[in-house]
Amino acid sequence: MSQFLDPLLIMALALNFVALGVSRIRAVINAIALQGFLLGIIPLFLHPDIDIRGIVLVAVTIALKGFVIPAFLVHAMRGADIQHEVNPVVNFMSSVLLGAIGTGLALAFSYTLPLLEEHTNLLLVPVALSTVWAGFLMLTTRKKAINQVLGYLLLENGIFLFGLLLLDAIPFLVEVGVLLDLFTAVFVMGIIIYHISREFSSIGTENLSELKE
């Protein structure tokens, strides 16, 4: 059933651009949540003969990436009453363009990598890499702290996507550990964002450049 796989991946890829392009933070969160959800279900198509432990993993992933984390972020946002605009360093158009370029490069790079034959005609690696790239873009070109968290999520999504290639290679324990770590990280970041907004009454990182040299 891998014929469904590529459309899913394309969708995940498209969501990168949405995340980069939209101006409202809520929209970005939603995009990433949806992407997380897709990531969750992809294993089902990638490994048709999936065992119980895979199912559990899928469930955990969907729960965390698709619902818990986004919900938490929305909550943190509300708690820290953050204005809803993203206000980027470079404007949306160009960040989308950059994303596109990155995707191209990712494709190029991934074709140089020697893959297993069952993965060769699969978009998975390029999509993963371009998602990583998109995550970097968001991390580096957005002013608000929460956007950096989102960028980090995007990054993680990309890595996770690649991780799916070796679902049966990477032990279950590690996968879960990774997910838990991710969650904790975002959780702690959320708390800090909350503190930041209390401390500076805004989460624009321009306030966060006191320490230098």
């Binding site: 890595i159 070796l166 702690v188 970041m189 800090i192 320490l211």
Partner: protein, 481 residues
Amino acid sequence: MAYLLIGFPLLMAAVTFAVPSNRWRPWMLPLGALGHLILAMSAVFGPASAESITGLGGWLLLDALGKLVLGFLAVLFFLLSLYAPGYLAIRSDRPNRIICANLFAALAMMTLVTLSHHLGLMWVAMEAMTLVSAPSIYFNHNSRSLEATWKYLLVGSVGIALALLGSFFLAYSSLKAGRESTLLFDQLIEDAPHLAPKWLHAAFVLLFVGYGTKMGLAPMHTWKPDAYGEAPGMVGALFAGGVTSCAFLALLRIYQICRNGPEADAARQIMVTMGLLSMAFGAVFVVRQRDFKRMLAYSSVEHMGIMILGIGIGGTAIYGALLHLINNGLTKGVMFLSAGNIHRAYGSKFTDDVRGAMQRVPLSGALFLTGFLAITGSPPFGPFISEFTIVNGAILSGQYLVAGLFLALLAIVFMGMGVTVLAVVQGKPLEGTPATGIHDSVSTGAPILLFLALVLLLGLYIPPPLEALLRDAAALLEVKS
């Protein structure tokens, strides 16, 4: 044994968290640290060390490298924990529940890193360590420390994420090579020669950048000065000595895998380059540094560079680098703690206000100065041996240019730090600098003296067990030919 080593600190963390009294809680630290120290020593040197300590079906295994770092960590943490009660008594205004518990949790995670024999597990441990150690940076609860924590967390997590991708690459490459990928180090080391260079290179770079970020190699070091500058002195010491050592251990593991692979030379070149780059960054930023705690951070960047450089040079320099891991950590202990005392005594950490520490806090001032001399490689202290061994290794292996740059950068750092340190220590306290009324005390002085004693001992004499351990560890990193 392995489980005990990790479980005990976790247990202590829980207990400490439960202790109600803000006054008595800090005393749990020396208690737990002592227990952990005993366990660790018996694991490293004790009779238990003979048969290999394993767990989780081989995922936990304590080899020479692990032993080296574990033993060092235990000692470092113990000495720091001796300092903690005195310090936290001074800062009794702040609740210390979180920090005490977190310190134990961090210890547990570090121990796990040293024990883990599995790439993925090590990653999990590292990430966990990053997270649990974050709150202790925020101990002071002001805007500066908040900013520092934020940067530490973000930069650290991104770095770690890259390391994860690297681990995946490695795993995938071994799949590609048709091996079943267990991600166990033995397995990987053995597979390395057969892996596809492209994958291996990419994996090495990702892991190097990732764990390099945690270790604080330039230019991924950026979180370091902020974190060290704003965290309490003992936390700074724990980071500079412990966290970074774990990251270094991770890098050693990676190198251990790559050293016989097709990408070995590139790996060594990268290590040498990045090592020198880090030293250069350290040099640039210590010069005319007004904030003496940030100065220590940059010095730490420099010394991370020195260690990586030593590994990259290879030969006897590897031995030097491993020895430097210990020397640097202990000496940083001296410097951070004495700097913390001076900071407390003046209520400022800028050379504009802090002068004549030798007169206001004679002990801390003297220790700060001595620590400076030690860290910059002056006898009779440990770093002198390790740094000289690295130079010697470089020249023995004919890498004259590297040796030259290394020495030049050492000299620059010496001058840069010297200006700041001497400004702090010498002379008379400026008129109008408010005295906080905090002076040298046994509780905040004696632990530093212990640190210094160890540094001195390592400068004059290297105990045979340690010597043997170092040699075994170095042997693990030798290039098989």
